[in-house]
Symmetry: C2
Subunit: 372 residues, 2 copies
């Protein structure tokens, strides 16, 4: 089962219900990243309490460790990690590109060496889908070719065309090996070239995926270029299917992209930054290591209802962080994930009330006023 | 308020109720160690769910970081760390001895350099009590002189006598600066010398503390010596007051010492070993890193009711541990703390039913059979 229904719009922004066999997801939504079968430092119950509806797992990481032989014994990632809500898995392409020692990219797929032990592997479109089906992913992503920024138009065109051919192979494997409980999304590539983005969107739309992602953003390009490409590409994708911007971004990016009609996001920023002491508030980010928090009995954000803000002061969080206590990473992560999910909740509410433009103005009026 | 009442006995083992202004504690009890204002990796709610009734804070660590100026703003450690049950604080003596660069020990106290920044400090009996009162400790410990093992009889006698004189000074400071909500315990020293242990117990008993600890055990002596000294010293302390064995120990040590009439324990073993992958079960310890757990869908202990065992397999825990995921330390710690507190609960039940000898036999029949 996989359905998507738009429920409200406000300008180009929209709310929707994404129905999967593991439950309904209210969009627009942010998906916390659980690279290795755990959203770093949090329990599944904490994620639920923060409002997480779906999380992301990384195919490359889980394929290498613990491996499909282990996860198979649990009939997928959900039972293995004690999370029974939906999971989206990436294809592994971006991680091969960014983490592994890439030996060769060919029509067949990626040849690479594991970043863990140097072992040789071949990741083809077929293999990527098979691994994701072994993980029993609710939303499987097609393998795509990622490029560094900047890239030439020729490189970008070749990568986009290869991504399209791989998308066809992914779809064939998916159609042969699974039922409707595991949806398949295509990924638009085309770098910072609008014509190529258009062609990619057209080609993928023709393949009739359950949803579409825009990949290859937030790879080093200026912020306005990222937003311009998203602004150009989102309308080229069919409105009746979910639109997912991969690997983005900062809170203000999410606000801008939701305004353009994006439905789904993932990013390591709330989790990774939490572990580096950077915490999000309505008024911008704070660095908890800053000595100005040393004796501060107030929470991170007095208006925040997360577990961390309900029970702990900045002074305590700073103390834990300076002492490198394990609880620091957990309380910080919990707050940041809550912040991101609460931001999405607020945006959904504003869209339902057809007040998204006003929401955006309020957001910017508050944001970026906090000093670190 | 501080009261102790023995409720049942089974041989020399006993259950009791220790009444503090922050609630009642059922003894015998194990106190998880929260060195820096956090039991490493766990939340206060998790501790409560495991059955923790009282935790331990380290005076030396908290004095250096975050410092009394910070904790004062929260009127003590409880509110600072979001734990409203009782807290026992050690005196700092053992940490100065084991962690700091000790410059000088004199009649006055310990001169030492911080292990963090090399700053010079003087820890006197008066100062130790004052810091513990700033932490608003429910059970304050007297400053004592710790010795390495082995030590000569002369050294041991001098240290024991100094500890006794310091105990008098601690009591004076305590009497002048606090009401009955912060109890004060004396610490018996005397190394591995039974005569000195006897003299120390006599001298401290005369000072009429709220309870007594036996310090200076588990410092490198053979196990049978430790048990022999405890066996000799416990009966020298007044039965109507709680008896606390400091810094001990393994599960089998707790069983032996409860049999001898001990009421309170603390040890870093369940928390520290958890972070090193060593997990306690009814059948002995397992090392979760062992490859035999790689595909094991069973929990750590099928008979355990902790959160970790209810929801996660050995395969998942091994995966998290091998990947150094933060959740590994938390799930492992939670299990080990639950194991220790459940062991204490079982012992209390066996004593209530006057079946402690049978309990002990069953414990040893199961224990130490597991392979790592």
């Amino acid at each position: 089962m996989f359905n998507f229904k738009i429920t409200h719009t406000s300008g180009r922004a929209r709310t929707g219900i994404l129905e999967t066999s593991r439950g309904k997801i209210k969009t627009p939504i942010f998906m916390p990243v659980g690279t290795l079968g755990t959203v770093k430092a949090l329990s599944p119950e904490e994620l639920l309490n923060c409002g997480a509806q779906i999380i992301l797992g990384n195919t490359y990481h889980l394929y290498l460790r613990p491996g499909c032989d282990v996860i198979e014994r649990f009939a997928g990632l959900h039972k293995f990690m004690h999370w029974d809500k939906p999971i989206l898995t990436d294809s592994g392409g971006f991680q091969v590109f960014s983490l592994a020692k890439l030996s060769k990219i060919s029509e067949q797929g990626y040849s690479f060496q594991s970043h863990l032990d140097g072992s040789q592997h071949l990741l083809t479109p077929e293999k990527s889908v098979e691994i994701q089906l072994c993980l029993n992913s609710d939303i499987v992503m097609c393998l795509d070719q990622c490029l560094p920024y900047p890239a030439t138009d020729d490189e970008t065109r070749e990568a986009m065309l290869l991504t399209t051919r791989w998308a066809e192979r992914c779809k064939e494997t998916w159609a042969a090996k699974t039922g409707p409980q595991n949806a398949l999304f295509g990924i638009v590539q085309g770098g910072m070239n609008k014509d190529l983005r258009y062609l990619s969107a057209q080609a993928l739309t023709a393949l009739d995926f359950s949803g579409h992602a825009i990949g290859g953003l937030s790879v080093g390009e200026p912020k306005d270029v990222m937003l311009e490409i998203a602004d150009h590409t989102l309308p080229e994708l069919p409105n009746e299917k979910p639109k997912y911007i991969m690997g983005v971004g900062k809170p203000e990016d999410l606000v801008e992209l939701v305004a353009m009609g994006a439905d789904m996001f993932d990013c390591v920023m709330p989790t990774r930054n939490a572990r580096n002491g950077q915490l999000f508030t309505r008024y911008g980010t704070i660095n908890i290591a800053n000595s100005r928090h040393k004796q501060d009995t107030q929470p991170i954000d007095t208006g925040c209802s997360c577990y961390t803000c309900c029970h702990y002061s900045r002074a305590y969080l700073r103390h834990l962080y300076m002492a490198k206590e394990l609880l620091a990473y957990r309380l910080n992560t919990l707050h940041n994930i809550h912040y991101y999910l609460d931001l999405m909740r607020s945006m959904r509410e504003a869209i339902r009330k057809n007040r998204f433009e006003g929401f955006k103005q309020n957001f910017y009026n508050d944001y970026l006023n906090e000093k670190t």
